[in-house]
Amino acid sequence: MIRWILKSLTSEPWHLVASVSAIGGAFALALFFEAVFAGESKQIVAYIDQSDADVWVMQRGVSNMHMATSYVSDWKADKIENIEGVNKVTPILYLNTVMQAGGRSWFSFIVGIESGNARAGPWSIAEGKQLPGPGEAIVPAVLARLAGLGVGDTISIAGHEFTVAGLSDGTFSMANSITFVTLADLADIMSTFASMSYFLVDVAPGVDSIALAKRVTSEIEKVNAVDNRHFTKNDREVAMQMGLEIIVLMTVIGGTLAILLTGFSVHSSVSRKEHEFAVMKALGVQNKMIYFCVMVYAIGLALLGFSLAVILVLVATPITASFVPQVTLQVTMPALLRFIVAALVVALLAAILPVRRIVRIDPVQAFKVS
């Protein structure tokens, strides 16, 4: 019986295709923004993620990297290194500034790394050198592409000229980009002497990073040490504050659209089948049976629409990556699960809309001559 009622509800293929496409479109919109959000929030902490230091040491009062300023005397590196359980300490200088490249200004994070030490440098190189020499910079490949730059071209950081020596991958997002220069060059730009911004600390195998971070903070004056996980979390929170609201809003709009479209589709299917429902009722089918079938139908529509959305977004991801490189899309499993739950909620809400209508369908209508 359920199968036959559903067969009646879905008997118009074009109506079904249109419904699923519309619902799929709305879900795709929401899923797309979610993917942008996930991609961006991953990309924004890419440097911290990739350099994978166990503990970060910085000026007391500072607890993240994004838009932060931190100065720590360079001699403290030795003191940290002497703490038991510390394997290696790598210093970097760090500056948020505007960079001139290809006739445009680019907001950029400049990271100064020790000459010849790749520990805190770029992790993936598309072209050219991996490490900058004096007067050289490694810029994001995406930025180079957008600015029309190549290896050997010149950029300017805070009035100082640098030659592009290499192009790095995975160092660009909508909110930031990372350019690498030597420690000495960045110290010159920042007019600092004997100061570092952060120390990347690698701990010995089996040592607990959180405990070690606590020890560093208590044993060395005027520093704050944070383990990698918390440092990443702090940074993401700061960086995503504003973006988050917009993305949440867009996701809510996409979700609402999906609810409306699913509701509309279910409602219009019920309206189109009103006479058949009247006949079914006249034959003795109960309201609750029709209602149950409409609910199953709504869930089916929402899940089909959702599947279509997943396919659309999975197809859109590589296309976006090649045509709009500044946007990083990431479809995550938790996001998909969240959306499936949302799709089911959408279906149930959409199925509530035609309840009154179904109840009101009068079986006497079956006698009307169409």
């Binding site: 036959w4 006479h275 034959l283 003795g284 109960q286 309201n287 006497v364 169409s370």
Partner: protein, 284 residues
């Protein structure tokens, strides 16, 4: 034989309120016994469909009582009414009302889901019905591909599948050609005679008068005695054709006289300029 399958007393149904109120059925009482073929006739708008809807547990009367199998139908709630219709009543409609998405066989079996026995036990009976009604070759066809006569035979099989004790048919031949209409009439006659099933048939078709056990005449919502003559011939004032006043469905009033028409076309012409046609008296 005289065991009643259905008993209705003092049924009243009014649509609308105040000025626009229409008393569609006005104090109708009747008993239908098992195996009886009862024909209800009457002019258009006389309340035939309304009466049949109430007898078939589809529409609640404003007052009066309906008893089917010692159960007072007017006291049942919506759920029980639906269950009653599924198990004890079969409907045949003028516009067939088959479910378009389902095949002939699925349409026939549809009500079986609602009966106690379920679909499996109904399958054999469905085969018999397909055979009897000469539908076997079309069993997998969609309703859209059937002729009118075939559609109505499918609808009859659907009405019979749960072996109901009552069948209501509202103008089942209204959309059929003469031959298919005749076939449908004879099938309904056989059902009443052979299966002990009571059939209540609303029709304008005079041919059924020869096989009906009883003919009820409904006019202005009330049952009236019908004269004994089989036909009452009058002349269509527009074309001059002979029309049976008892079974005709097109009427108009002019100058206090009632005129009967053979077709909508004649009626339309009359309404535009009644004085042209009303002069000649109608009765022969």
């Amino acid at each position: 034989m005289s065991e009643p399958a259905l008993k209705a007393e003092h049924l009243v149904k009014t649509f609308g309120d105040g000025q626009v109120a229409v008393r569609a059925v006005d104090d109708v009482s009747l008993v239908v016994v098992r195996g009886e073929l009862v024909v209800i006739m009457g002019p258009s708008g006389s309340g035939k469909t309304t009466l049949v809807s109430m007898l078939g547990a589809l529409l609640r009367p404003d007052s009066g009582s309906i008893t089917i199998d010692d159960v007072e139908v007017t006291e049942l709630d919506g759920t029980s009414l639906a269950a009653l219709r599924a198990r004890k009543i079969g409907f045949i409609f003028q516009s067939f009302n088959l479910l378009d998405a389902l095949t002939v066989e699925e349409n026939i079996l549809f009500p079986a889901h609602l009966a106690r026995g379920g679909v499996r036990s109904a399958k054999t009976y469905a085969q018999d019905l397909l055979q009897q009604l000469n539908l076997q070759p079309r069993r997998s066809a969609r309703p859209a591909t059937l002729s009118g006569g075939e559609k109505q035979r499918v609808a009859i099989a659907r009405a019979l599948i749960n072996r109901p004790q009552l069948i209501f048919a509202d103008e089942p031949t209204g959309n059929l050609d003469s031959q298919s209409g005749q076939d449908v009439m004879m099938i309904l006659y056989d059902i009443a005679r052979d299966q002990g099933c009571s059939v209540v048939l609303v029709t304008h078709d005079p041919r059924v008068l020869d096989v009906a056990d009883r003919v009820l005449w409904l006019e202005d919502g009330a049952l009236r005695d019908r004269k004994n003559e089989q036909h009452s011939w009058v002349k269509d004032p527009v074309c001059g054709m002979r029309v049976d006043e008892w079974t005709a469905s097109l009427f108009s009033e002019h100058g206090g006289d009632r005129y009967v028409f053979c077709s909508q076309r004649c009626l339309d012409r009359f309404v535009v300029e009644p004085t042209c046609y009303a002069v000649s008296t109608q009765s022969e």
